[in-house]
């Protein structure tokens, strides 16, 4: 496998100038929401870093996270990340296959035991001993537990690995679980999103490589620099929300004027992610800017949180009890009324007319 020389040595080998690397570090600083002036410091730190081994395990996933990350094969600044790491195992991207690829993975894990970075995408099925997803005859559960033993840190890429994702949605037939439900003794970073913004994935990798540790995480294990604020907090349509100007249907007058999409089901207020600032497709746009409400894809259980087109103030599932409650209420009410009337009538019939003679007795 490739040598694990320093990044500076590798860049020199590839004929990448220091100026080009500085440009890359400027982009990384921007991604990590660090002060733009820190690019020089990042460059100096990264150039001396040894390329760590990275193992990428794909479990019960749709490959959307890998797709998000690798939009093309021509050298781009994002793909430079893959030169910063030594990606020793990745189903979709690696050239090797079959037993050779598995041997390569085992070798990397052994050689860099305790030091490699483990990236996981996809959820891990748990039901029936995890039989619902296997690689080379071994269950995902087994593979994860083995790989986690020698990992320095685990990065759960995508909502499936971070929280269970779509396989975990009701009724969860495979017993899909998140990485953090299974591994309890290693540091885990959750990069949630369906898929996550590619810049966020590379940004976290860059942070780990630059600073040698995990960034500050929120209570769900997501890096605060990308997930610290909600979409709503940074949405450019916020002034319309504050004024109560909402689009009522797709493509109506309000929608054309860029009004708030709350009534069309936007989950921006409850969703933590960087879509409103970092955006998608090289900062082109994000769902709300394109006229569709946020789905809330970086939050746990977002598939079970009701229709994507139901506003947050609307019920997330239809009401079942109302008709029965009405019938029950009416029935009990009638029952009580009948009881009261009977009481009244029996009191009336038990009424004994008294005369003055009775009273004198």
């Amino acid at each position: 496998m490739n040598g694990h020389e320093t990044l500076g040595e590798r860049l020199a080998q590839q004929g990448v100038s220091r100026r080009a690397f500085l440009k890359f570090c400027t982009a990384m600083a921007s991604l990590m929401a660090l002060p733009p002036g820190s690019a020089t410091a990042i460059a100096e730190a990264l150039v001396k870093a040894k390329r760590p081994s990275v193992i990428w395990l794909s479990f019960q996933e749709c490959t959307g996270c890998t797709e998000s990350l690798t939009r093309s094969y021509s050298p781009t600044l994002e793909s430079l990340i893959f030169d910063m790491i030594s990606l020793d195992y990745h189903h979709t991207l690696q050239a090797a296959s079959g037993y050779g690829a598995e041997k390569s993975r085992e070798d990397a894990m052994q050689r860099f035991f305790g030091k490699y970075l483990l990236l996981v995408d996809g959820s891990i099925p748990f039901k029936d001993n995890g039989i619902y997803s296997t690689i080379a005859g071994r269950t995902n559960l087994d593979l994860l537990q083995e790989a986690a033993k020698g990992a320095a840190a685990i990065i759960a890429v995508g909502t499936c690995a971070a929280f269970g994702g779509i396989p975990n949605a009701k009724p969860n037939p495979t017993g899909a679980m998140a990485v953090s439900d299974i591994i309890k003794d290693k540091p885990i970073i959750n990069i949630s999103g369906c898929p996550p913004i590619p810049a966020v994935i590379t940004g976290v990798l860059a942070h780990y490589l630059t600073f040698g540790g995990l960034p500050e995480l929120d209570e769900l294990g997501r890096p605060k620099s990308f997930y610290g604020e909600t979409i709503h907090d940074r949405c450019y349509r916020r002034p319309f929300y504050d004024q109560g100007k909402f689009a009522k249907t797709f493509d109506d007058e309000g929608a054309r004027n860029g009004w708030c999409l709350f009534e069309l089901g936007c989950k921006g207020p409850t969703t933590h992610n960087a879509c409103a600032t970092t955006k998608w497709n090289g900062a082109t746009s994000f769902p709300i800017e394109s006229g569709h409400g946020c789905l809330g894809c970086s939050e746990p259980h977002f598939w079970d949180a009701g229709s994507f087109y139901s506003a947050l103030s609307m019920p997330s599932s239809p009401l079942n009890l109302v008709t029965d409650a009405a019938v029950a209420g009416a029935a009990v009410g009638i029952g009580v009324s009948v009881a009261n009337r009977m009481k009244k009538n029996s009191a009336k019939s038990a009424h004994v007319t008294a005369t003055i003679a009775d009273l004198k007795k």
């Binding site: 100038s17 100026r19 982009a27 450019y236």
Partner: protein, 138 residues
């Protein structure tokens, strides 16, 4: 609502302001003051600021174009211009496919990226010396 009842209009490029621009210009002014009085450079990352459609263009128009424009080719193009306000540089980095990977205003005497880097100079010097040695050989 049936789709026939929603009228179809052609897309217009109507720009509207939400008020983000004023705040940004104030910050630029503060940093430029810092540069003028203390010689301290500063940077503002435009990627992290919310812009309504049209406000970004308004910023371009407001800052305008000065005397200097530079083009860098380093794993994709980068465009640098000095705006109409000397000391306020607009630096945009693109990747090979033309996506913006960094977009910032640099308030400095000259942007960092335009300076030749020490490591590159050292490498170039080595190559030049090797060339001279070759030429020196009969």
């Amino acid at each position: 609502m049936k789709s026939q009842t929603i009228p179809i209009y052609a897309q217009t490029d109507a720009a509207y302001s939400i008020g983000n621009l004023g705040a940004l210009l104030s910050e630029i002014s503060a940093r430029l003051t810092n540069l003028a009085e203390n010689g301290e450079a500063g940077m503002i990352d435009l990627n992290s600021l919310p812009f309504a459609p049209g406000e970004y263009e308004q910023l371009r128009q407001t800052l305008g174009q000065g005397e200097v424009s530079a083009h860098i080719e380093a794993i994709g193009p980068s465009e640098i211009i000095e705006t109409g306000y000397p000391g306020v540089w607009w630096v945009t980095h693109y990747n090979v496919e033309g996506d913006i990977v960094a977009d910032m205003l640099e308030i400095a005497h000259i942007p960092e990226i335009l300076k030749s880097q020490a490591a590159d100079i050292a490498e170039g010097l080595e190559l030049l010396r090797a060339q001279l040695n070759d030429k020196g050989q009969p």
